[in-house]
Subunit: 346 residues, 4 copies
Amino acid sequence: MSNKIRAIVAGATGYSGVELIKLLLRHSHIELVGAFASRTAETQPLSTVHPQLMGLTHLQCQPYDEKVVSLLDAQLVFLGTPNEFSNEVVPGLIQAGATVVDLSGAWRLKDASLYPKFYGFESHNPKLLQQAVYGLTEFAHDQLRNAKLIANPGCYPTTIQIPLIPLIRAGMIDLSQTIICDSKSGVSGAGKAPNAGTHFVEVSESFKAYNVFKHRHAPEIAQGLGLEFSPSKLIFTPHLLPINRGILSTIYVRLQPGVTREAIHNVWQETFAGKPFVRLFTGSQLPEIKFAANTPFCDIGCVVSENQAVIISAEDNLLKGAASQALQNANVALGFDEREGILHLS
Amino acid sequence: MSNKIRAIVAGATGYSGVELIKLLLRHSHIELVGAFASRTAETQPLSTVHPQLMGLTHLQCQPYDEKVVSLLDAQLVFLGTPNEFSNEVVPGLIQAGATVVDLSGAWRLKDASLYPKFYGFESHNPKLLQQAVYGLTEFAHDQLRNAKLIANPGCYPTTIQIPLIPLIRAGMIDLSQTIICDSKSGVSGAGKAPNAGTHFVEVSESFKAYNVFKHRHAPEIAQGLGLEFSPSKLIFTPHLLPINRGILSTIYVRLQPGVTREAIHNVWQETFAGKPFVRLFTGSQLPEIKFAANTPFCDIGCVVSENQAVIISAEDNLLKGAASQALQNANVALGFDEREGILHLS
Amino acid sequence: MSNKIRAIVAGATGYSGVELIKLLLRHSHIELVGAFASRTAETQPLSTVHPQLMGLTHLQCQPYDEKVVSLLDAQLVFLGTPNEFSNEVVPGLIQAGATVVDLSGAWRLKDASLYPKFYGFESHNPKLLQQAVYGLTEFAHDQLRNAKLIANPGCYPTTIQIPLIPLIRAGMIDLSQTIICDSKSGVSGAGKAPNAGTHFVEVSESFKAYNVFKHRHAPEIAQGLGLEFSPSKLIFTPHLLPINRGILSTIYVRLQPGVTREAIHNVWQETFAGKPFVRLFTGSQLPEIKFAANTPFCDIGCVVSENQAVIISAEDNLLKGAASQALQNANVALGFDEREGILHLS
Amino acid sequence: MSNKIRAIVAGATGYSGVELIKLLLRHSHIELVGAFASRTAETQPLSTVHPQLMGLTHLQCQPYDEKVVSLLDAQLVFLGTPNEFSNEVVPGLIQAGATVVDLSGAWRLKDASLYPKFYGFESHNPKLLQQAVYGLTEFAHDQLRNAKLIANPGCYPTTIQIPLIPLIRAGMIDLSQTIICDSKSGVSGAGKAPNAGTHFVEVSESFKAYNVFKHRHAPEIAQGLGLEFSPSKLIFTPHLLPINRGILSTIYVRLQPGVTREAIHNVWQETFAGKPFVRLFTGSQLPEIKFAANTPFCDIGCVVSENQAVIISAEDNLLKGAASQALQNANVALGFDEREGILHLS
């Protein structure tokens, strides 16, 4: 009999869900025992829902059912479900003893009062909200160990916090100047539900900004950077790219006097030494979406002119921005090698 | 006071509708006096529905209302409306005295018995169906003159009938062999309604065949070519291209003994002399979608090896496959230069 | 005999060149009499070089030859040629009496000393450089009238100067804060020469910043805005979008105390009243590339939060960013309606 | 010390080369010890050539050098090199004792007389040509065992031979009728060299047929199917899709009387039982490129109407059409599990 950790993916029909399933099928210590669809009523083979999984799994995809979690004796649950759904179901899952990695935004913000405005609902359990570990893995190893509830970071915030946190901690950024985060994401970030905004003809050969000054990732970024949530401190503008997957953020910061490109590189090198999923671009080449797409890495680089820095970061929004970071977090929480199921370990 | 023909476009929110509006705004003898949306209830500026029309028109887009046709004293109505809707409203419009150019499929098939199977409804008025002129303009000038009801051809059938009709009439094709029409269309051909099949992520970086052996354009093509509707005579396979607009058809026919590429070119040249919207590719260059996209032309060319011909045709599905052919037809019906509003006349 | 102005397009094989040719073929008072290719040796039909022009023109495309300008008695020459080429040939053309609209960057910068650094060559004629009219049409009507040499603005600078110039003139922007211009362009902006950076596989499903802090449009923008050329004043970061045509710029400015969105709209409305090619987006809808692509408009809009503004502008880089603005400029210089050949005049 | 097979990838800068490298880095019994670039002179890190490999390997990419093969004691060489280059170097590598898997076309055709016409060179060693094993893995297990030279099949031929060989062997196809293979490929199939045909703007929003009646894969397909190479027997038309990777083939065959869809499924099921890389689509869903892209599978399905079948097959041209099939072949030749390095083996 297998000694593997038994895991369930809820939200198995979504874009992050299927990526998570593909990763888990390659994991040596976790066994995928269930796949839930939060919004459909029928049980059907996962390979019917996602024909790309044919030949890889015989698992069935079934309607979400909390009782099945116990029936399957699952110790680990990944929620790739809508925000409001995660808000509802997490407390019950925790009580049932499962470790939960929630990929939605329902458990990310520490300030419960932001939920009605940015998510349209009240946080179900503000006390649990405080206990949730914000799983930006590279900065959360200690808290993640044995965590029961992990709030997986948003796709955009991951690309912004990874390069900025070390520089802010090192006091290199002039915070009296507005930090500008101009981010661009592929369409899978908008989810699988068809609507006018995801229609091929509306997206292809086009490009747009959206939710200017009001995207729900803005307060998450400010929280992660330890900044007051105000447009004079930080502006985050998301844009929609006519591609399937990948995010690139162009971040503008004013540096403290004397801070050079090399100094930034040094801080990053120290911070990310031994962190397998952050890659530094320190030469003339800067990160591009094609280098990071379909990989579990967050790539970062910068250019400095006088006291201004332009920082470029890129990731696959479905991997480091969702599924692979979720698995990274689960690996750390459960004591496995952080890379298990994500990178080949020889 | 203007002596222009007063026209209405119904279906103004759709992809063909907006193209038609753009063409009509450049017409010297037709004035666009109304724009109807068949499925929405609110009146709002066309430039709100289609921001690309800002600066070009102040017309309002209003819910479909047959009474408004009379109120506006419109003599010409273009219907870019759903098949079933066109089936319903055409008889009333005809009775009210308007000339109708219907861009749907509701009035194209002469055999009324095909409607339940291919369109899911009974033809409203089989007698009127017989009177409708099938507006493949290049082959219908005489019937179009003063026509009251014009059934504008399907996008796919236009690309297939234009090159094949002259060759079949000239007896050049061995009809004992199956004619294979392998067609590929951009996504605007699927209409503006968002669904799983038009979601950007499902279409981009992919390609698929659909409705194999059962697309409703198959009987239309057989009718246009004068062939029995049977897979042993003609196979039509549509595919979905990850582009916004354009169709390319690759057509395989066996030639009668001795028929050469030059002979085909000669027949085409004779047939399309004086026809401004068919372009012959007789050199080494074959039609490609990019040459025809955003133009009102149907481009045709062929390669012959032994007694087999591969015919390539291309068009913009929203123009020669819909809006510009509709205007071509209206121009002929009303006695204007066929090119009015479509090509610049110096 | 025609009284039309006789015009030549040099650089007829490039992406801007073909757009200019399409516009000129619709012009009532200008006749296209010649098409030059700056880098090829053979004379061949334009419709062979650009099959999309089949059926529209019988003109030949010939190697660049200054003598032919006189032979054809051309009074107007559009140069869609490489920067260095334009630098060389303009003085001769001016001397020969032609009105020249140069779409390259060779005659845009007033400070001749910037050419070696940003363009890799010395300006051929610094005195003529001072006389060249920078053709951002909306702000240059008076100087354009009877101008002999018009330097057509860069594609990026057009999207940035149009919204910012009126706001800077009105004193609404806090210039002590860095203006951030994060711009994104389609691939046609990179020209037609194939290289690793324009290979489909390298561009599609990707996105990147390029020439960070060193793009040659940066000094042009600073000059147009009347700002010192320094990263603490203005940062311009171009990015490559996986689309054919269109630019969107996201511009971040700090406003002077009390400046509201409405105040910005008011200044824009006053500035652009009677200017047919700038469209204001004053409602909830912001400019997107798809609204501006294939149109001659520059679209502008903004969102304000506290004292920060995010300005969004969009245009077709080949039209308002090149060919249609060139024709706008020629129209003004020659005393025609600014819209001739560009918008339908009823 | 490692007991792994030591392998080299030549052509490491190309699109197939990098895929092969990624697969080999995950292989339990093969160790990648060298990477050659056939056309460049500098040695540089693979992760500089392909930044997506950063964090995955520290291997250097060096100019092709046969002596290094011995120096590195490599027993296995993959050639992702140009046809003519493979033609030259294979005999020497074989003589040096290496097992060679050649991904080019240089060793695929048994009839040496076809090389001058279709490849532009004489086959270097017609005797060796006869000994080369054509590695369409599913049909070549026996010959592959201990093979020294494996000619990896073309990307298009793989999609056509896999579904057709079993049906032809079973006598189900009426070979008196022309078999039509209408194939569509992503741009990576055209290789990495930039040219007018791979320029983003020329490919995006377009679609074209190319090499009609003269593509070099046509004789390869005829050979694989055991058919006379003649347009009356088989027509193969390749087309260029505006996507990065993936091929879909639409294949038209006339069936022998009485052959049903179920009969076809039965033959396929028998043929491909135990073959992990062919997936059968037997329900209402047909193969689409998105299901096969980024997977090592060839997907097949069909629709039958009367005695006509439309067969749809799809694969990733860089994986089952190149790199993963090459590794499949090496695995079989060396006695490893066919799936090693390609699918996760638990």
